[in-house]
Symmetry: C2
Subunit: 480 residues, 2 copies
């Protein structure tokens, strides 16, 4: 999709409907280009202003003194055809139509206008992203669709029919360590469609994992092909929006999408090898696993940490998610017999640190060594480490204990003996953490684990479901 | 269970094995009584100290100058029989045996010692909580099993075989607004067992909802009866720990529990009407719904807020959880026709605020009125309000918008027209929120909603599953 290169690496960008009003998209998109350091010329277009946000403004496209590859259009729908007619004068290749209130309103006059827009684009030899969409987030190129997104680039590419949902993906993903190569929100898909964007990301070297959110498909066969091709080269994780009755109605009024039968979608995803996620949280969880874990081909897990009931529940949850917890191997116990005579025959998998008789003294050496022993054993394919956050000590001792656990986990992870996944109990941020030492300390440990490149979840249920997807992906690739 | 009254309202408490060493339970339990303001006399027992934490220490129980209803025993297992033999001298009624390393180790000598402890207790006419357990958290009576638990009391009572898991319940529950009447952790259940504690909470006026965590059952028939009796008077939500192979092994080495067939447990729960939760997060989610929602008997939900893809996914998730989203009623649209001519025929259920054309101006009146209109309509049994956190404004405007949404939701909730559940997108606390305005603002809004008594979740999936349990509970009660 060469034409999309013009959107991601435009020689210059014009913002039609640029504005000084901070409630308007014409304001946001000029500011995003400035905030994210877009390196080329930015041309605000507004016939009623001399300057916009410190930049010289132009009354129309034609008056811009150089060719412009990419136009972001924030104009009301009725003005779009005229804008498109101007495009050939500046050699415009792609227009992002943020402009909405078209076919998604369900109104006939809006649908007619949308058809006229497509005709005009064809006549002007311009390709469209949208309408009714947030466009592009490309941190590597200084282009954004939201405030406060990460400026560093990453490896997750996203094709999202919903711009708002792509916003949630970026913000929630950031908290768990995800960074993005390119995010494309495409709304009503009047011209360029989901398959075009997918094909682009499949062949994009900056993208290693693809996230997708679809409400409808412009061309089902084309999409199935695009998905199949993409899955051949990288993992694709998708949400289908509009699975039921009310969701289908909502999708129609959101992006004018014909949601189609959910059975057909699920069949297509299965055929193509697409991993399906239910919502943004699950999508982020899966992306974290695919982004940070090496290939895992077996489902035998050694679990370390937890404590008491937490370890029991962790075992249940992992088994229910399709993982296997082998008992501790005999040679393992033999090593423990001298190192930890009090627990060598008692401790199991999960390795429950609460029975270690004071994790901050005495058996400290074993705690440091235990995760490594699991990582070394051929009985296990990967490790899950849990934070024993319920340790019963006063706050000062408690916080030292959680810190030491984190250090032990990071040390073992660095040795790259086995893939590791971390679980740190997550308080939702309803509480004033700055006043609560415990939640603040856990947040700090979580941040350290994430910064060390360890996929980190707040429940083992989420961790287990995510790693299961990774195992399934690599097992399927082995077979084919 | 009159004897348990002696544990919750003891005339005095002795801590056997009291200590100044902050790594020891003998330290923690003296300090908890001081920290939580236990109103009676506290008697540290330790033959090697004159004072402990500022309190006069006693060499043994017999030397204490008055009768003592309740003893917390932090001694090593071998010393427990002698302690129990001393109990009649001070009229002790209940002993909490924090003491562990008994039958849960799987070792014969430990099992034999556990049997001797039970014999000694019978001989001394003393009832036991434990061994191998954290005991009691009763904020109303100044008794705690952990540092930093809420000092205010609430309506959730808990029977937990695992003390660590009860710690997680209290801490994670607190974040979502739960407060507790009485929490009992009972470990190996050598004497008093899960059924005794359940019976107590079933008849306890301070307890309106019961949470439970079981690894095994001392007496299956007795437990089924206790569960059935409890469900008759209040909702009971339970986790069964040790559902699979590895979990069963883990339960045995944790509380010496015979986990038993999971099918039998599920059948018993179903027969008794117990609601089953998978893990602590789900348990907290369900408890929040039962604690804050009035009876709901229908499953028709009106959803307000969200935006675009978020609204589409919310519709899907709610339907998949067994809820019904009726379309907006005709009289509803008529009211909108004049108030919101741009969207009256377009907007649906979920009511997507992102199409309202600038939620912070213009249609502000409608946004305030919309949730109320849903609450008034007989077409809906309850409301879910979502935070439109993906609104595209700069940070200052964005934070005003989320604040206004919260205010609108709280205002409608106060009118008590319909039960309301709130969803505020939750960032796990991995990020330094104090530096990130967005997550901090969302945390503040969440706290406001929780303080207003509105059950609040970080995903609509969690909200929908939780409210479904409430509906099911009340529908079943209607039928019987």
């Amino acid at each position: 999709m060469d034409v999309l290169e013009s959107a991601f690496h435009p020689n210059a960008v014009a913002v039609a409907g640029a504005s000084e009003d901070p409630f308007s998209f014409g304001y946001h998109y000029v500011r995003h280009l400035l905030d994210y350091g877009y390196p080329g010329h930015i041309y605000p277009v507004n016939p009623r202003r001399e300057t916009i946000q410190g930049l010289k403004a132009y009354p129309n496209l034609t008056s811009i003194p150089e060719p412009v590859d990419y136009v972001i259009c924030c104009l009301p729908a009725s003005k779009v055809p005229d804008l498109l007619a101007e495009c050939p004068s500046r050699g415009v290749k792609v227009v992002h139509l943020l402009t909405a209130r078209l076919s998604e309103t369900g109104r006939q006059e809006a649908k007619d206008l949308e058809s006229r827009i497509l005709q005009e684009a064809r006549r002007s030899n311009v390709r469209l992203i949208g309408p009714n969409c947030m466009g592009i987030y490309y941190p590597g190129g200084g282009i954004s669709l939201g405030y406060g997104f990460p400026k560093e680039a990453g490896i997750v590419g996203a094709v999202f029919q919903s711009g708002g949902a792509s916003d949630l993906l970026v913000r929630h993903g950031e908290l768990q360590g995800l960074r993005f190569s390119k995010v494309i929100s495409y709304g009503n898909a009047l011209d360029l469609d989901e398959s075009d964007f997918l094909n682009y990301l499949a062949h994009d070297d900056e993208t290693k994992v693809i996230a997708a959110y679809f409400e409808g498909a412009k061309d089902g066969r084309k999409l199935l092909n695009a998905l199949t091709d993409a899955v051949r080269v990288k993992p694709v994780i998708a949400i289908k929006g509009g699975r039921g009755l009310a969701g289908t109605r909502a999708a129609a009024s959101h992006t004018a999408a014909l949601a189609g039968s959910n059975v057909i979608w699920e069949t297509a995803f299965r055929k193509a090898g697409v991993i399906q996620a239910q919502d943004i949280r699950e999508l982020v969880n899966f992306l974290v696993a695919f982004s940070f874990l090496p290939p895992i081909r077996g489902n035998r897990v050694g679990i370390f940490g937890g404590g008491g009931g937490m370890s029991v529940m962790s075992a249940d949850i992992c088994e229910e998610a399709g993982l296997v917890l082998p008992p501790l191997p005999a040679e393992f116990r033999e090593k423990l017999r001298t190192k930890a005579p009090e627990i060598w025959d008692w401790v199991g998998n999960p390795v429950d640190v609460s029975i270690m008789g004071g994790i901050s003294r005495g058996l400290e050496a074993v705690i440091g060594e235990f995760p490594e022993m699991i990582a070394e054993s051929p009985q296990f394919d990967f490790i899950i480490t849990e934070m024993a956050e319920d340790n019963p000590f006063p706050e000062d001792i408690w916080s030292v204990v959680v810190k030491r656990q984190t250090e032990a986990y990071i040390n073992v992870s660095r040795k790259q003996l086995k893939p590791m996944i971390a679980v740190v109990g997550g308080g939702e941020t309803s509480y004033d953490e700055s006043k609560n030492m415990r939640w603040r300390a856990l947040a700090e440990q979580r941040a350290r684990l994430i910064n060390a490149g360890i996929p980190t979840y707040s429940t083992i249920a989420e961790a287990a479901r995510a790693v299961r997807q990774v195992i399934g992906y690599w097992q399927t690739r082995e077979e084919t």
